[in-house]
Amino acid sequence: MKIKTPEDLYMIKNEGLKALYPGKTKITVGTSTCGLATGAGKVLESLVDEVQKNDMDILIEKVGCLGFCQKEPIVTVLEPGKPKIIYEQITPEKVVELIAVLKRGEIKKDWVLCKMEEEECLVEGVTKKFCNEEGLKGVEDICLYQEVDFYRKQLKIALNNCGFIDPERIEEYIARGGYFPLYKVLHEMSPQEVIEEVKQSGLRGRGGAGFPTGVKWESCRNAKGDIKYVICNADEGDPGAYMDRSILEGDPYSVLEGMVIGAYAIGAHEGYIYLRNEYPLAIRTIKKSIEKAEGCGLLGKNILNSNFDFTVKINRGGGAFVCGESSALMASLEGKVGEPRAKYIRSVEKGLWDRPSNINNVETWANVPVIIARGAEWFAKIGTKSSRGTKVFSVVGKVNNTGLVEVPMGISLKEIIYDICGGVQGNKKFKAVQTGGPSGGCIPESLIHLPVDYEELTRVGSMMGSGGMIVMDEDTCMVDIANYFLTFLEEESCGKCVPCREGIKRARQVLQGITEGRGEEGDIELLQDLGAILKDGSLCGLGTSAANPVLSTLRYFREEYETHIRNKKCPAGVCRELFQYFIDPERCEGCHRCVEVCPQQAVSGEKRQPHSMDQSKCIKCGACVEVCKFGAIVKQ
């Protein structure tokens, strides 16, 4: 059915509400890639089996990711009149008991993460209560969703639907306020008014440099040309960042709706989504969503009976990091190799096929419908003066609670890493947090109180980037990290301009030398020189920012470089040429586990006697450290 009038929208909304709160028991399983990787697929299968076996009338639904990836697979149970119970780390084995417990009308409290007594619908600005007085009894001791440390300080705008709706059901998206903003835009607002609203909101690009979105739209609208393009950059290449994947898998319609609003404001009728080939589930989800939106008259000709036409095509990337750069991405969309060009003329004037093109990333597009629905004023109140709204961060690495965290801009690193994500894993000491991907830098402990926004991160030598936050502990070597990023960038440099192609290679050679014990006096100065040349001479952002990982680690961890160069030691015990494994006879219980896993037969010893390590055979693969339960294998 084609949706044409507000009445049509309300009708679909009612259908969606029935699917969201069906009046009978409903179980959801988070089946985004992170859920599936921990076995959510099998959990879902067993749920279907068990429910059938027990002949129970229960609705089972797939939803996106609730953000708390550490606790996947996450299963929720919503019984009429009762609070929604969110279970963590459910396995196929646990499902049998879970269903049995449910049949008895009980709750398996040991596995519960939290409960929800109400659900906020952000787009509409209302909260839906779904339990009655009776339902509240017996669950008083279960923590509320909004009181869980991981969620307490979060404010979800871009992620507002993720984990709450079935991404494939457009009616559930509409039930949570979706497509009402688009109706308002197409029928009640002029393109200029839309641009003004987005400008007033202060929304800035969530993919890297943070360019004001409304200003970009305006330039593209004013650019000369009949045909214009709107592009969604879903080539989320920054290692350590995956919020765009989660949005595409969990709430695809928010991106599509955002794109239609942008296209209307700019005057474009064709759009592209450039999506990484590494995200197969996201590709499938967005493909289905486009088809469904076309069927409902929310894409294609005469959208919502407004005479406005807009179509979207998907292009899969080919696994090149540089294609996240806008001009390289557009070259790739034209079927060419992804090489950037010099930007004397900006892509809003001459982009794809030399026509005005406006590109924003997934998270930016997902913010747009909410801004239209709640208004620029509401949005601009969130965050800091220069960075409005929220930002999604993927907090990963050596941290207790990994996951996607959406917080108001201006919150401190410490609040994100400690209050929300529970601090560093295994009681180790915090060393640094890496933000901004390969263009960013490492921020040391002394700056842990830094408020997070675009300007502050740049000021300390890093950048916002797309929002990856990789937490590093004392066992992480900063020279190795710099070497890691430069190796990455050397591989990913397209090779078009000399400073980037040769400069990164040379810097990587110097760094590799340092990590392998061939560092010399003068290396640090050479790296700084190379960094300056890269910054001044490279064609695109990949090259100009390539030195950031080196320069930021030099700025805050210079001593570590010097120890590598002068003493030929790696204090963190990462650089293989600069440390050796020893077995501490005091701690070794002689369990033989290490002897069994060592691929080189480097460890030997009688059972129940302390073992010993043959340094000439050891390749430092770390297999023994992984299996040792007594912490007896030490690095020196």
Binding site: T33, T38, P239, G318, E334, G335, I470, F488, C621
Partner: protein
């Protein structure tokens, strides 16, 4: 055994993209999904049928990491070397798999069972270190468990 090529299927893939020069990358991806790699004769065919210079087809096929000009094994192992995986020991996992299969990155086992490649982030950072085999993502992989994981792929 090297995979065999279904010419009719290739023709129908090319047919789908005719007139859409911008979709060269998607076209090559579909062919690679079908054949498992991009054989020389098919690249020549694509160039002729799509009216795109062979030099451009070849440059695209070699520029992007997703493409392989060599036959790949039945199962593609991608070790994630993203930052989160790197700090949580991806290099150790890579070494373990190299030793287990007795091949290096980029190589295919003699029985065409596995091809081993690396990838820069699959967006599953919360479960690092991650290994993707075909389309299955394996999270929190340990060196010790590598063998068991590989056994599921024959």
């Amino acid at each position: 055994m090297e995979p065999s090529i279904n010419n009719e299927k290739i023709d129908s893939i090319i047919e789908k993209y005719k007139g859409e020069k911008g979709l060269l990358i998607s076209l090559l991806q579909d062919i690679q999904t079908e054949v498992n790699y991009l054989p020389r004769e098919i690249l020549i065919k694509v160039s002729k049928e799509m009216d795109i210079p062979l030099s451009q087809v070849f440059s695209v096929a070699t520029f992007f990491k997703a493409f392989s000009l060599k036959p790949r094994g039945r199962h593609l192992i991608n070790i994630c070397l993203g930052t989160a995986c790197h700090v949580r020991g991806a290099i150790g996992i890579l070494g373990k798999i190299e030793r287990e299969l007795n091949i290096k990155v980029g190589d295919t086992t003699k029985d065409f069972r596995f091809t081993l490649e690396t990838v820069r982030c699959v967006g599953c950072c919360s479960l690092s270190p991650v290994v993707v085999i075909d389309e299955n993502t394996h999270g929190r992989v340990k060196q010790e468990k590598v063998f068991t994981v590989l056994e599921n792929y024959r």
